[in-house]
């Protein structure tokens, strides 16, 4: 079973990478980009086949390592 962990900086935490991308898009002539936030996607291939246990396990991994919950929030999505 695949678990996709999406890690984003929390609202209110300065995201200088997002800002740099925003400026570069404006330089390229893209109009109307009001905000850009950059994050990470981590794909986990898990041996677990039970969706509930897979989700719980991926969430625990996110809490303990994949995200730093002082500055980041995460979501877990299961796929196949």
């Amino acid at each position: 079973m695949k678990a996709i962990v999406r890690v984003m900086l929390k609202n209110g935490v300065l995201d200088p990478q997002g800002k740099a991308i925003e400026h570069a898009l404006a330089t390229l002539g893209f109009q109307g980009v009001e905000d850009v936030r950059a994050g990470k996607i981590i794909e986990l291939s898990l041996a677990e086949t039970d969706p509930e246990r897979a989700r719980a396990s991926a969430e625990e991994m996110a809490r303990r390592l994949l995200a730093n919950t002082v500055i980041e929030s995460f979501t877990v999505e299961l796929a196949g």
């Binding site: 935490v13 300065l14 200088p16 990478q17 740099a20 303990r64 390592l65 994949l66 730093n68 002082v70 500055i71």
Partner: protein, 235 residues
């Protein structure tokens, strides 16, 4: 002083730290591999600068989960003294030994230059050889030194006097211009509640000899050596 320096893969400032500690105390520190767990007999554990595990995922994230860090956590809980510089500071926050986090520099630039630090309190084992509000020069070399914590944590740090060092102008003024990496409230270094764990972003260990261009950072190591000297003599 019996000091130990933890060596993680990708760390590169451990020898600089050893030179500074040896010069101050006359005793060579023990190098501790990140998979070791034995810190017995040490007065001070140092997490040096560098790029542990290639800074993958987040700076210090992997190192903070290394076997040695369980021992460092126990050591700190028993009142042991811990110094984390640069990547070492990042590792201490990732390990939860100090609050907050170090984000990408606000400019997105890697900063390799001298900065000036103002000493916010001197009644600690680390800062006792500086005058209060003294300003000293320190090299910095980091891409992720932008100290962040939520407002409640920042207020608690300020209220409890746990901000140890701030980025300052050479005259001591705390200004946005002095704060090159964008840290909240110009914070360059913070203490734990018992004042025995210090995380510091710039590198005092790289200014401890006239041959390095100055001795501005030497008082930190002299103060540590003095803290532990009486006990060493008694033993």
């Amino acid at each position: 002083m019996k000091a130990g320096i933890v060596v993680f893969p990708g760390i590169n400032r451990e020898r600089d730290m050893a030179i500074a500690l040896t010069a101050a105390s006359g005793a060579r520190p023990r190098m501790i591999w990140h998979q070791e767990r034995d810190l017995a007999g040490l007065d001070l554990v140092v997490l040096p600068g560098g790029f542990s595990h290639g800074d993958y995922l987040r700076c210090g994230a992997m190192a903070a989960r290394a076997p040695v860090m369980e021992a460092v956590r126990d050591f700190a809980a028993r009142g042991g003294y811990v110094l984390g510089v640069c990547n070492g500071f990042q590792i201490l926050t990732e390990a939860g030994l100090l609050p907050g986090a170090l984000l990408r520099n606000a400019s997105l630039r890697f900063l390799s230059m001298d900065c000036h630090l103002r000493v916010e309190r001197t009644d600690t084992a680390f800062a006792g050889h500086y005058q209060k509000h003294a300003v000293f020069r320190a090299p910095m070399a980091h891409g992720d030194g932008n100290y962040f914590a939520d407002a409640a944590t920042l207020d608690r740090l300020e209220g409890e006097g746990l901000v140890g060092f701030r980025y300052a102008m050479p005259d001591g003024a705390i200004t946005p211009e002095a704060n090159r990496n964008g840290s909240q409230r110009n914070i360059a270094g913070i203490y734990s509640a018992n004042l025995r764990v210090l995380g510091l972003m710039p590198h005092p260990e790289d200014l401890v000899d006239p041959l390095m261009g100055g001795t501005d950072g030497k008082p930190i190591f002299d103060a540590l050596a003095a803290t532990f000297a009486p006990r060493s003599r008694a033993a």
